[in-house]
Amino acid sequence: MSYDRLTRPLVREDGVLREASWEEALDRAAEGFRRNIEAHGPDCFAMLSCARSTNEMNYVGQKFTRVVVGTNNVDSCNRTCHAPSVAGLSAVFGSGGGTSSYQEVEDTDVIVMWGSAARNAHPIFFHHVLKGLKKGARMFAVDPRRTGTAQWAHRWLGLNVGTDIPLAHAVAREIIHAGLHNRAFIERATAGFEEFAASVEPWTLTVAEQVTGVPAEAIRELAHTYARADRAQLVWTLGITEHHNATDNVRALINLSLLTGHVGRYGSGLSPLRGQNNVQGGGDMGAIPNRLPGFQDILDPTVRTRFEQAWNIGIQPRYGLNLTQMLEGMAEGEVTTCYLIGENPVQSEADSLACVKRLSMLDHLVVQDIFLTKTAQMADVVLPASAAWCEADGTFTNSERRVQRVRKAVEPPGEARDDIWIMCEIARRLGHDWHYDGAEEVWNELRALSPAHQGMSYERLAELQGIQWPCPSLTELEPPYLHGRLWTENPGPPAPFGILRHSPPVDLLDEEYPLRLTTGRRLDSYNTGVQSSGFASPLRRGETIELCPEDAVRLGVVEGEEVRITSRRGSVIAPVYIDPALRPGLVFMTMHFPDEVDTNALTIEATCPIAGTAEFKAAAVRVEKLVAVS
């Protein structure tokens, strides 16, 4: 179905949403927040800030949470995709960004695409990969499915879902046993090698072959090629991060770069590809519970003092709740009011029924969005916003840390208003007389507080077609890759190896649920489908359950036939699509058409304890023929 844009504010009266004036809606929104904060203190408030909106909006959103409300309970849906990459990278290197830039993929010798269907999910990034391949780079694709990416690879390593750590460990062990690890680099710039080497010792090629399903000889080739390369890029996406132990998966890949010295040099690095236009920027702007703008740690007293002076308030010296904890807090009655900006957790969260139940327990829910989403339909106040990328000015930050200008091209429809204006109006009603003359004023406030963004004036961003952070100077540019320090005489804090254990998917396969369901994206569609339903793509074929030909024969089903898919949590009906890129036992669905088929009724809400990401990539299901009712 296609959605209509919201053009008027809505408020709930006698249980139904009715149109209201801005004045009334803003008053109602502010009053509800005040009521809850007065009754339960600031920590009963939670904000979900929009990973698709501008850096400027995210800066103001987190400032609203910290200054107007006085809590650190701010997060965004990057929780459901890329928080583990940020957590893993920042634990090792002190910074959560991908370490390389797109151009380096063109200039590298070996590209490892691990759990990344970039050919379909990030097509223009894949153009850079293709340029690299034409120049002679070798590519390995590690993915349970033989994806569009894998079709371009020199070798495809089709591992069992959730066995990334065993595979990475086996690669590491093989590198060490072949003597191909970079001893000088390990000595100078890393910590914990001995313990790491001991921890991977059990993962021989034979053991790994049994657990991962990847032939030993292929694991060996990946290990030797990666380790021997002069330059190598390790790229990953949601195949790594949508697991219950996602941060460990990320650390397992980082370990390989530390072992071989493939980080901190031109052409060698780690690139997590972001799923949404401004996931990177949302975190950089401090719209996460543990960081202030500029990705500066809340627990650092000097950082906190600087912000306290600038904002003239006290900041709680502890981390706020992340999205997963917020949802738990709702269930336990600790979080009673929520301000959701551009987020649709009812349809994007794993185990969607539980999410609906939790949101319905809130005393006061304000949703600011461009559509009346399933989540907005539950709200007490709905505020119609502008679409950031074409109806507002500001900046986004992409997967290579490039901050780029977003410019207003069209007027928002009806009475829809700019996100920042709306937040300032609510802030004003709560006693903070905020006003910004446009996004640039917000940006300059951020630049004064974030050293990494200091040199990025709007003028310079336009002139250079975007600038990658860090950019502390107004006159100079830093190298396009991060962590060059690791290759200097004084490398600074050593990068620690992660000591990790294999932890198979939580949702176990058994006789009742014998098939492994994994989820992902298709080329022409996007997330919950709210945006991408608006154009007539000839490629779109609706939701299906994709099976390999062998499983289809075994189940006695044919293409197009509707079948029932059941997990331990729910059950849906979808038509069959036969895809030879799948292996027996593995089935695939997207999450693009929740109004037709609610895939997330099947997925499991087993979350990563460090980053809070849900295990979208591995549910146990069974597929059954529908019995004709006669």
Binding site: I124, F125, H127, L273, N277, S399, Q465, F535, P538
Partner: protein, 280 residues
């Protein structure tokens, strides 16, 4: 190990008697543009390898027996180039006449202006002159193929093929005057390998390939570039950060292109960035 590009030297070239300095590896066309010369081009694509198909950009180079396509020949130190000698202008005139007599150049930007400038008269070959004629192909809701306007510059084939998209949905079919750009077995796009990125439309110099939105508005008579603004912003889908140039008429997005000199996209987009704006 794959070598990185070494730094480029600067070289001096003489264009119509004036010396200009360009980086080594630049084409004569780059040098001419540096000197402020306005050379017409059709098959030249700033993101593509030169194809030397149309020859409307020819210039005279001292010591060269034949005219030189400026879009592909590299500039060399001390080269002496004449951009508007009698030989090259007359050649451009004939090229424009041959093209305009066989295909419809009505939507080719600047074609009319060049025809006037070079005094091209396509009608002089008479009524009987062969024309490329085939029905407009409208087989999907996103873009339209009107090969009556195709000058066979191959830019779409290169963009779809190994230079950018690597989808290989189209190629040249047929021989001689009957050659056309075609999908496999001339199937409709919906039965082809096409992934609707629109990167072929982005590089088409004549409007033979056009977005359905533009095609429909032209048919209705509502397409008016003088009322359109162009604003470059960032795509709202994945995190790659592609730059989109939104063409807006009456507060409505009517087409999306991408800046060719951008380090993220080099003028390319995917189906979502190119066409997924309907929801705003």
């Amino acid at each position: 190990m794959i070598p990185l590009q070494p730094p480029r030297r600067l070289i001096d070239v003489e264009i119509d008697g004036e010396v200009v300095r360009v980086p080594e590896g630049s084409t004569i066309l780059d040098a001419c543009r540096t000197a402020g010369k306005d050379i017409p081009t059709l098959c030249h694509g700033d993101t593509l390898t030169p194809k030397n198909a149309c020859r409307v950009c020819v210039v005279e180079v001292e010591g060269s027996r034949t005219l030189v396509p400026s879009c592909s020949r590299k500039a060399e130190t001390g080269m002496k180039v004449a951009t508007s000698g009698e030989r090259s202008t007359s050649s451009r005139k004939v090229v424009l006449e041959l093209l305009a007599s066989s295909v419809d150049l009505s939507t080719t930007p600047r074609a009319k202006e060049w025809m006037a400038e070079y005094g091209a008269d396509p009608a002089r070959f008479g009524e009987e002159a062969a024309r490329v004629e085939q029905p407009v192909k409208v087989d999907n809701e996103l873009y339209v193929r009107d090969y009556n306007k195709c000058i066979l510059c191959y830019k779409c084939v290169d963009a779809c093929g190994d230079q950018w998209q690597n989808t290989f949905a189209i190629a040249v079919a047929g021989r001689g005057f009957d050659s056309t750009i075609s999908t496999e077995f001339d199937a409709p796009l919906t039965d082809s390998a096409c992934v609707y990125c629109g990167n072929c439309v982005e590089v088409c110099p004549t409007g033979a390939l056009s977005f359905k939105s533009e095609f429909d508005m032209r048919a209705e008579g509502t397409w008016d570039e003088s009322r359109q603004s162009q604003t470059t912003t960032i795509c709202s889908y994945c995190g790659v950060g592609c730059n989109l140039t939104l063409h807006v008429q009456d507060n409505r997005i009517v087409k999306v292109t991408s800046p060719h000199d951008n380090p993220v996209t080099h003028g390319n987009l995917c189906v979502k960035g190119r066409f997924g704006y309907g929801y705003v």
